[in-house]
């Protein structure tokens, strides 16, 4: 396997930001990948381990933050794509009667 690196960013649109349930989902998804994955609330860092819920919650990222991801490892590109997808889908939290009709 060859190690690759990937990065990307996404706008956090969840109403209360990166809170408990989204953080659980984000770290679980990160842990499902072999790559080392880091997250930052600003391009300049600080970069933190996206597999640690303690550290992800400690960013206290509010709604409107641009989350940056970077990954290194065999599945780096897939990891970044999956994490960005999760944030874009608002962490799959179904909101009844949301504006989707």
């Amino acid at each position: 396997m060859t190690d690759t690196s990937a990065s990307g960013s996404v706008l956090l649109t969840h109403e209360v930001g990166l809170h408990a349930r989204p953080s659980v989902k984000l770290t679980k998804l990160a842990k499902a990948h072999a790559a080392r994955i880091e997250l930052a609330a600003s391009e300049a860092g600080p970069w933190i381990d996206a597999k640690s819920i303690v550290k992800v919650m400690a960013t206290k990222a509010p709604k409107g933050t641009v989350l940056h991801f970077r990954a290194a490892g065999p599945d780096a590109a897939a990891a970044v794509e999956a994490l960005i997808g999760l944030v874009e889908r608002d962490f799959d939290e179904a909101v009844p009667n949301a504006a989707s009709v």
Partner: protein, 531 residues
Amino acid sequence: MPPPSDLAGRPAAPGLAIGPVVRPAAPVAARRSSDDPMQETDDLLTAIEMAIADLTALAVIAGDEGAAILEFQVAMLEDEALREFAITSITAGSAADAAWRQAVDVQIAGYEEGEEYFQARIADLVDLRDRVLGHLAGTAGDAPPLPGAVLVAEDLTPSRFLATDWSAGGAIALAAGSPTSHVAMLARSRGVPMVVGLGPAILDRGTEAIVDGSAGTVCLDPPAAAKDEFRRRQAAAEAMDRVVEATIREPAVTRDGVPVAVLINLADPAELDRIDPAICDGVGLVRTEFLFHGGGLPDEERQVAAYTRIVAWAHGRPVTIRTLDAGGDKPIPGLTVEGESNPFLGTRGIRLSLARPGPFRIQLRALARAAVHGPLKIMVPMVTVPAEMDAARQMLDEAVAELAAAGIPARRPPLGMMVEVPAAALAVDRFGADFLSIGSNDLTQYVTAAARDTGAVADLADPGNPAVLRLIAEVAAAGARQGIEVSLCGDMAGDPAFVPALLQAGLRSLSVAPAAIARTKATVAAVDLGA
């Protein structure tokens, strides 16, 4: 008897309750350190594993919402970062309990500076901290409080809430706490009255309390007059509940006797567990995007099971299932087209389904198979030209023929269209649809050319715009001329400000969020159409 005292705090969960005051003891059991860092580390890791096992067992009986909260605590306990911090302190000479307390308290200190939402998570951290400390000291699992008691504490942990039997009533009165805490969310969904921010005065005295979760007040050691007042208000509240309880199952009828169908919108079948089908006239919209949230495309069997479950729940009432409405603001990795400059005007809804016919064909097969179990109807989103309906109809007919040829039980459901593109709304008679459902959110955004997710133009995206209402009236009239059913399933259907105008426009079927059913029926009952 001590003098009565009224305390004011912040409402966290509505409702009224009286009961004996119970103050859960804080876990402050002493523990003797082994003075051996290896032993202390082992003890800590064992206590953490036991805490995880407790929470996992509690999650089984906690219901979906409670389980999600406990899952957060389990994730924190499993995190290497928290353990490593404590083990570093142990290696430097700390006892296991002191090291663990310090490790969690550092996190708590970080949350204290954040916004209220993050401050509210402190109760979760205290919960998991004390659970591990309890296992270290060998005192975990103290007796749950009496049923019907008023729990009084500085703050309350989610696991204690979930371990408490609320079936006999009871309430929560906290000196600190927050309306956005996990306990407050649980209290609202279980109907347990709760007041927070009452200050330290509540911790010291009082053996009985009346809790008014709506007003945010607590009366300690209430005098007879206060108890009489409580009983009078409780009787009135129960009478009101009985009225809502009785009328929510009644069909909606305007004041002048015109019946109106009120259906529910469904985003996730898991919601059905908490809804009595008798409160609605069916399901007016099932969003099937939930099937795609797990990642990957769901296979036919999984879809058949999901649709059949909804049809079975509805017990003979109609269920309208919308085919996949991906794209726009709902991208699905690996399916939707990436990099479009304007996704709302791009490859979404039926446009995507026809561009990627594989997943669409599987969905049509699954819907036709589920339709043997009840009155299922298929609705196609984002239809713009009649050719799209023709293509969908042909694919559905082929799917049904294939199933019949293979000897698989299936039925050809009615095929209707979602009316949300102005080009369709203005010429709806040309599409040959079996029924129409107006998607007022998207229709409003396309008629006003104002994106619903752009705050600066949100005022323009007004469903009350006369042009939108006029278009809705035309669609209702066109449906009546063709003799086909027309309903509306956007947010405005559940908004009391718009319901009268929608009925005046000729609509007799509204599909709303489950929580808006009672309100919508009450609004309908107040309308007079002069019939």
